[in-house]
């Protein structure tokens, strides 16, 4: 660090690759980490050596500070998050989200968030750390208009504002003097300390990295895009949406180090539940009204969403062909819709995201989880899934299929299980490999503490060097086949990269019977675990205890769908229980017998 003496000599040490040079009494350069003496000698006049040689390790604070100021301008954490959101929105646009998403929805959400949390667009913004609470001087009329526009939420009419690097927040806060800054903390932004204060975080609902995703999720929900939260998180982990090492996309002026780094550092992709919770909280903080309703034509509607997951899981009836009206009850999708309608889950009120609804506060809506739970319940209705009945039914289908009766074959659960199991295991392995090869650390080393700076930079260099040398020795990198963003994980049917034969066209005649002109299931019983009354729902952590008592086929199905959605099987089980609960409740009202319930 004694830049004056080493004159900025920054060639890494040959032995330990650190740039930590010191100059000895004789003017010879040596590495302070490994004491390697190199051949470079300080070329200075004799007199100068005499004057400075007694203490070589004095740190010249002055030059360092100046250096820091050169590094970048003062910036606010909120600006950083704005960049993050902008990049995430751009990535979503590239993925094919409708163009209104960014300018008309996310932008407005962001402003509304800033306004409601009093971080900007307000007369007296909250003070965070070094920001003095000076009254805001330039609430320009433009933003005032916008905030008005937001308050009555005519979200499609607001003036489109470009979000760019030339952003200027409504409330520009004055900064205290620089002296204080350099002594108290070490970071590039102006208000990192305030951000790191837990109490501030809680009381002001400050932004965090998972919350950027929550905000994106809310905006996607508002525009009713077919990107579910599970998809969003998958795209994030597949790096189609920037989230990891976000500081790499920051503009030059924004330098991320010290305390800022710990705000923007990402060491995990947040869980589904976490983002969902954050989204609910944000919606409450932003006081968003009820969201546009999800109609049956909307892609987020469980009716349509379940079609997608039927296709993904290679189940029959997932393929939107043109079934004749007679055949309709032989489609699995028909039963999914039936369960949905009879459990009252298809009602508009139940499907519209509304943070004010108490029911949703208890169990937030997750369309994809609901769709998958409906599929599982329908499967239970048709096949019982008690590790016995489904195999008997499957034997029946096999007999029929071997008899070679013309027309498309019957759905054989055993064969389907074999096929999907193989692909599932492969996908799990691929997933594991991908996780193992995930790079979390950025090529630009993050420095959290000033005293660690040289160490961190040295570590980074060593890591890069080792990576290079080992990569030379490693075999071909894993197939980049799945790097293209796709809604589907599996591919069924013919073709080279197919995961197995398709079952989409198979029929379910063998699990149906005709009764008084109506089709009903051949399976007459239905099992379900104990359904607690509303409000006393079983805790998620109990799944581990219950799991061994559940039929294996059911558990496997839970695992399959939870893998597709990247949630825990416990979470999936929970959703299934919820659907069953709703179903039983509605049935009790209607007293309409469909299946005998076996306890």
């Amino acid at each position: 660090m004694d830049d004056e003496l080493t004159a900025g000599y920054s060639v890494p040490c040959e032995r330990c690759s650190a740039v930590n040079w010191g100059v000895s009494d004789t003017g010879q350069f040596y590495c302070k980490s490994c004491h390697n003496i190199i051949e470079r000698v300080r070329d200075v006049e004799e007199t100068e050596v005499l004057s400075t040689s007694s203490r070589v390790t004095t740190l010249s604070r002055k030059s360092f500070k100046k250096n820091e100021k050169v590094l970048g301008k003062e910036w606010m954490i909120i600006e950083g998050f704005q960049f993050v959101l902008m990049h995430q929105a751009d990535a979503l646009l590239v993925l094919g989200v409708c163009p209104q998403f960014k300018n008309d929805v996310l932008c407005h959400f962001w402003r509304r968030y800033l306004q409601k949390t009093k971080q900007a667009y307000t007369e007296n913004p909250i003070s965070l750390g070094r920001i003095s609470a000076e009254p805001c001087q330039n609430v320009d009329s433009d933003s005032a208009v916008e905030s008005e526009a937001l308050s009555d939420v005519s979200l499609h009419s607001g003036p489109s504002v470009s979000q760019g690097s030339d952003l200027s927040l409504g409330a520009s806060a004055g900064h205290s003097s620089d002296d204080e800054a350099s002594t108290s903390l070490w970071c590039g932004s102006a208000d990192a300390t305030g951000y790191l204060n837990r109490r501030n975080q809680r009381s002001h609902h400050l932004m965090s990295m998972p919350r950027t995703l929550a905000l994106c999720h809310l905006a996607l929900l508002w525009v009713r895009e077919a990107v579910t939260l599970a998809d969003l998180l998958r795209f994030v982990s597949e790096k189609h949406i920037p989230y990891l090492n976000i500081h790499e996309v920051f503009p030059e002026e924004i330098k991320l180090f010290g305390k800022d780094a710990s705000i923007f550092r990402v060491e995990s992709i947040p869980s589904y539940q976490r983002v969902q919770k954050e989204a609910q909280l944000l919606a409450r903080v932003m006081e968003l009204p009820a969201f546009p309703s999800i109609s049956a034509q909307c892609l987020l509607h469980p009716g349509l969403l379940s079609l997608r997951y039927l296709t993904e899981a290679n189940l029959p009836g997932g393929y939107p062909g043109d079934p004749s009206p007679l055949d309709v009850s032989y489609e699995l999708h028909h039963w999914v819709c039936e369960v949905m309608h009879r459990s009252g889950l298809a009602k508009v009120g139940a499907l519209t995201f509304d943070h004010a609804s108490t029911a949703q506060r208890k169990s937030p809506i997750s369309y994809e989880l609901l769709a998958c739970a409906l599929i599982i319940v329908s499967m239970k209705l048709l096949f019982r899934l008690n590790d016995n009945k489904e195999w008997k039914l499957s034997e029946k289908a096999d007999h029929h299929n071997f008899a070679d009766i013309p027309g498309s074959g019957l759905f054989s659960l055993a064969w389907w299980y074999e096929t999907v199991l193989k692909a599932f295991e492969k996908a799990k392995k691929r997933e594991e490999q991908q996780t193992a090869s995930q790079m979390w650390k950025s090529s630009k080393a993050m420095v959290f503490r000033k005293k660690d700076k040289t160490v961190n930079l040295k570590r980074r260099r060593v890591v890069e060097h080792l990576q290079k040398s080992f990569q030379k020795l490693s075999g071909p990198s894993p197939d980049t086949l799945h790097s293209k963003p796709s809604s589907f994980i599996f591919r069924w049917g013919e073709g080279e990269d197919s995961d197995g034969p398709s079952f989409h066209q198979t029929k379910l005649h063998h699990v149906m019977k005709k009764e008084r002109e109506a089709h009903t299931t051949a399976n007459e019983k239905y099992w379900h675990p104990f359904l607690a009354s509303r409000g006393k729902k079983p805790c998620k952590s109990h799944y581990a205890e219950v799991e061994p008592t559940l039929p294996r086929m059911y558990v496997w199905l839970l695992e399959l769908f939870s893998f597709l959605l990247r949630v825990t099987p416990a979470c999936m089980h929970q959703e299934v229980l919820r659907v069953e609960q709703q179903f039983m409740k509605c049935r009790r009202f209607k007293r309409k017998k469909k299946t005998t319930v076996e306890k």
Partner: protein, 430 residues
């Protein structure tokens, strides 16, 4: 690997408060046969740590299956663990990187020697904690490739290296480094000696250069082997040098200290070395037997026990009959103890020795001693040596053995023993 894994289990809590996706999906069934997991499963494990964990598993898998290219690939992903910010992992990841990385490079078909040296240098200077250990390993690697001088240089660099307070583990490493440096001096000395002997046959050790190596080596070796521990090869080296310079007393003292010092862990080799030294220097039989007596207590199955038996049978002082009786009785015990070990079970020399002891006992009309000893061991010896099955086996292995045992059996188990009958049958048929 065991000590790393123990270290890894204390991996510090991570600082990230982020949830992981798919928490708890990876379920490991605990098995008593497997070592504890490197990273114990934690519900709040961050995605980064999960990656590291899976990466380690993948490396292990690849290494066990000798897929070195895969292992290299995964270890290149593992390097990011070096940048881990949690303190526990900061300590262990360089060690894992060093050990696994070197192992992979040693086996990889396309790796160059420079790669290994480079890895050693990088990891050595990565932190301060592992410097001594890695230096020592580096020196071994150099020695394996025959770079003696370079290895010596490495060790002297490591020896002079100091950083902060020395921990107990570190000082142990430094002791090892010192003693190995001394040993390398000895190797050079030895090399010079053999060169000198080739050059002029009067090799009187007057070579001053050689003497300086001796001094260097002896200073370090002498100091280190005084502290309790197992220093077998170092002691031998030191003794060899002392003997070369005719310091017999000094050598004997070193060996005696090494063998008899109570602070040292019990080490049969120490007694063997002392015995061999005394034997070389024509020490009296009494002294040799003293050493062997102690060795017998430590390792009754040692091959020197045959020698001990021989000494006991042929002691010089004929004037004392009681003492002789006692010695023969002792010889019987020693040889019978020896024969109770599986490795000696079919050794004709051992049986020959037993036969000699029996003969000399019978000569002295001390059948009672034999009967007494047999009575004590009958229950073990019958099933161990004297079944029909053994006769058949012995006949297959060695006819001499069979003959010896036929001679021995009637004196122990009686004339009508099962073994004898079977053996007779076998010899008659042959």
């Amino acid at each position: 690997m065991d000590d790393i894994e123990a270290e890894l289990n204390v991996a510090g809590a991570d600082e990230s408060d982020d949830d992981t996706w798919g928490r708890g999906t990876v379920k490991l069934t605990p098995s008593l046969l497997l070592p504890p997991a490197v990273f114990p499963e934690r519900s709040n494990m961050s995605g980064f740590h999960k990656t590291i964990k899976l990466c380690l598993l993948a490396i292990k898998d690849a290494m066990l299956h000798h897929r070195w290219e895969d292992a290299a690939k995964y270890i290149s992903y593992y390097t990011q663990a070096l940048e881990d910010t949690s303190t526990g992992n900061q300590l262990m990841s360089p060690e894992i990187m060093w050990r696994l990385g070197c192992e992979i490079l040693h086996h990889h078909p396309n790796s160059k020697p420079e790669d290994i040296i480079d890895l050693y240098e990088r990891m050595k200077n990565f932190g301060v904690k592992n410097f001594a250990k890695i230096s020592l390993d580096h020196a071994f690697h150099l020695l394996k490739n025959g770079q003696l001088e370079e290895a010596k240089r490495q060790l002297s660099v490591a020896e002079s290296w100091r950083y902060g307070k020395q921990s107990a583990a570190q000082s142990q490493d430094l002791t090892l480094i010192r003693v190995y440096r001394g040993f390398l001096d000895y190797i050079t000395w030895n090399h010079r000696r053999s060169l000198g002997e080739e050059a002029d046959h009067n090799g009187d050790g007057s070579n001053p250069e050689m003497h300086s190596y001796f001094r260097q080596a002896s200073v370090t070796l002498q100091e280190v082997i005084r502290s309790p521990g197992i220093w077998d090869s170092f002691v031998l080296a030191y003794v060899e040098m002392l003997e070369f310079y005719n310091d017999k007393e000094g050598a004997e003292k070193v060996l005696k200290d090494y063998a008899y010092d109570k602070a040292f862990p019990a080490n049969p080799n120490a007694h063997v070395y002392l015995y061999e030294f005394l034997r070389r220097n024509n020490a009296p039989k009494r002294k040799l037997m003293e050493v062997l007596e102690i060795l017998q207590a430590l390792v009754p199955s040692h091959k020197l026990m045959l020698q001990y038996c021989f000494f006991l049978l042929n002691s010089d002082n004929d004037d004392d009959d009681d003492d002789d009786d006692y010695k023969i009785q002792r010889a019987l015990q020693v040889i019978m103890d020896l024969l109770e070990y599986i490795s000696w079970k079919q050794n004709p020399y051992a049986w020959k020795c037993l036969w000699d002891v029996i003969v000399s006992l019978l000569k002295r009309c001390r059948g009672d001693v034999l009967a007494q000893e047999w009575h004590k061991r009958k229950e073990l010896w019958m099933p161990l040596h004297f079944r029909t099955y053994h006769a058949r086996q012995d006949a297959r292995v060695d006819q001499d053995l069979l003959m010896l045992k036929i001679l021995v059996v009637p004196n122990l188990a009686g004339k009508d023993a099962e073994y004898r009958r079977a053996a007779k049958l076998l010899t008659d048929n042959a």
